[in-house]
């Protein structure tokens, strides 16, 4: 049985990690140098048995960060207290040093969008996000890191640019930043702007860890699919980020069309090399 008291809470994510998913639990379990994984919070039960792979990782003192995808912190309505309670319970039972969620909304008017949707970059939206983050922070046992999303569509009436919008939210909530390098690439590519200009203006000292994922071009857009290889441009952006200020940890997200283990290992190695972290494979 998993002995909660025997495992000390980790100080924070470090080095190269990978998103734990049931489909690749066996692969993840065999990574000798792994110190950090992330798990989709809604997929972890608040009570009852944990997925066995996760229990084993905790026994190895691997840091497990619950990553919420359904809180809808950017929704105009108050965040659902039951969803916050679940995230808090999962953080507690995994002895997580922090949790993470998105600056996005996933439902409105009684309809589920099914995925993360962007907010207008307006004062009103900043107020809505900050109020919801404060509601969550009041119940969470650990700090929260907020992740800016990749958006294919922009609202017509943005008042703030992305850097000001994000910085305002982080300043007002005191939250950490989960910077998704692939999202930075995707947004810059789809809006026709320079990704380095955004990196230069974000509070990189607030980054708790960074995400890296694969994607693909189709229909004239770059799609952050998490089911394709990590493009060279994203790895180069990892290098550019680390040259400015290296985040404490980098996490590879893969959510489907899982490649052979050797390919996934090569992606983890490439990520470690781009950031100057030790290989975990």
């Amino acid at each position: 049985m998993w002995g909660r008291r025997r495992v000390r809470r980790m100080t924070g994510p470090s080095g190269v990690g990978i998103g734990w998913r049931p489909e690749i639990a066996g692969f993840v379990a065999e990574l000798p140098g792994l110190r950090f994984v992330e798990v989709v919070a809604e997929g972890v039960p608040a009570s009852g048995p944990l997925p066995t792979g996760l229990t084993q990782l905790r026994e190895r003192a691997v840091t497990v960060v619950p990553h919420g995808v359904r809180l809808s912190l950017g929704g105009a309505e108050p965040v659902d207290p039951a969803r916050v309670a679940h995230l808090a319970a999962v953080a507690q039972r995994l002895d997580a040093p922090l949790v993470s969620e998105h600056i996005a909304f996933v439902r409105a008017g009684g309809l589920e969008a099914g995925h993360l949707l962007p907010l207008p970059r307006s004062r009103e939206a900043v107020d809505a996000v900050c109020a919801n983050v404060a509601r969550a922070q009041a119940e969470l046992p650990v700090p929260i890191a907020l992740e800016p999303i990749a958006a294919l569509v922009d609202w017509p009436d943005d008042e703030l640019d992305e850097a000001d919008f994000l910085t305002e939210i982080l300043d007002r909530t005191g939250a950490l930043l989960l910077l998704d390098v692939a999202n930075v690439h995707a947004n810059a590519r789809n809006r026709g702007v320079d990704p380095l200009a955004l990196l230069d203006r974000l509070p990189l000292e607030r980054v708790a860890y960074a995400h890296v994922a694969g994607g693909a071009e189709h229909g004239g857009f770059y799609h952050d699919t998490h089911t394709d290889p990590v493009p060279t441009a994203v790895l180069e952006l990892v290098g550019a980020l680390c040259a400015r200020r290296r985040p404490p940890a980098l996490l590879l997200e893969r959510d489907g069309h899982y490649p052979p283990a050797a390919d996934l290992r090569a992606e983890l190695d490439a990520l470690a090399a781009a950031a100057g972290f030790p290989a975990v494979t």
Binding site: A108, G109, E112, A113, A131, V153, N190, G219
Partner: protein, 175 residues
């Protein structure tokens, strides 16, 4: 930690943002009109991306449905789901499987998957499926499954009318 809003004293109703978020979601998942000012191309790309994501999640809950349809899975799901907001992956797949069954278009492996689910759970098409207490028989496309005391067995497989390549081995199961 500066100027942290107080969750209790913050006025919660933000009609402007709430209404506009609802309009955007309705346009993306329920066939609603495009909200004013949004560029149509990015809106269409977002709609398609949401459908792909949703198809992947339904495929994880209904692997034989997705695998049975093989290369047709993505378009079959997208056509069915385009104007239907999600009711969750379990119910989405169930509703689609029943719709295909009604059109005699459910592949054999998917019929077996549906029969097993029908025997295990009671689903009225409106609310979350619930475990059946009494013994039950599930039927779909010639497949028959029986559930007694919570244990489900496929009594009769669905007939294979022809040897459709890829029926059980297609790689579209989303895993």
């Amino acid at each position: 930690m500066t100027g942290e809003p107080d969750g209790d004293s913050t006025p919660t109703p933000r009609a402007g943002l709430a209404e506009r978020q609802a309009e955007l979601v309705a346009a993306l998942v329920a066939g609603g009109p495009p909200p004013p000012g949004f560029a149509p191309g990015p809106l269409a790309a977002t709609r398609a991306a949401l459908l792909r994501k949703r198809a992947g999640e339904v495929a994880r809950h209904w692997p034989l449905l997705a695998a049975g349809l093989g290369a047709r899975w993505s378009t079959t799901f997208a056509e069915w789901a385009a104007r239907r907001p999600t009711a969750g992956s379990l119910r989405d797949g169930w509703d689609l499987a029943r719709a295909l069954h009604a059109q005699h278009a459910l592949p054999p492996a998917a019929a077996e998957e549906l029969a097993v689910r029908e025997a295990r759970l009671r689903y009225d098409g409106l609310r979350a499926p619930r475990p059946r207490r009494a013994p039950a028989v599930g039927r779909a496309g010639g497949a028959v499954a029986v559930q007694i005391a919570g244990r489900v067995r496929l009594l009769r497989p669905a007939p294979r009318v022809s040897t459709l390549a890829g029926d059980a081995v297609a790689d579209a199961a989303g895993s």
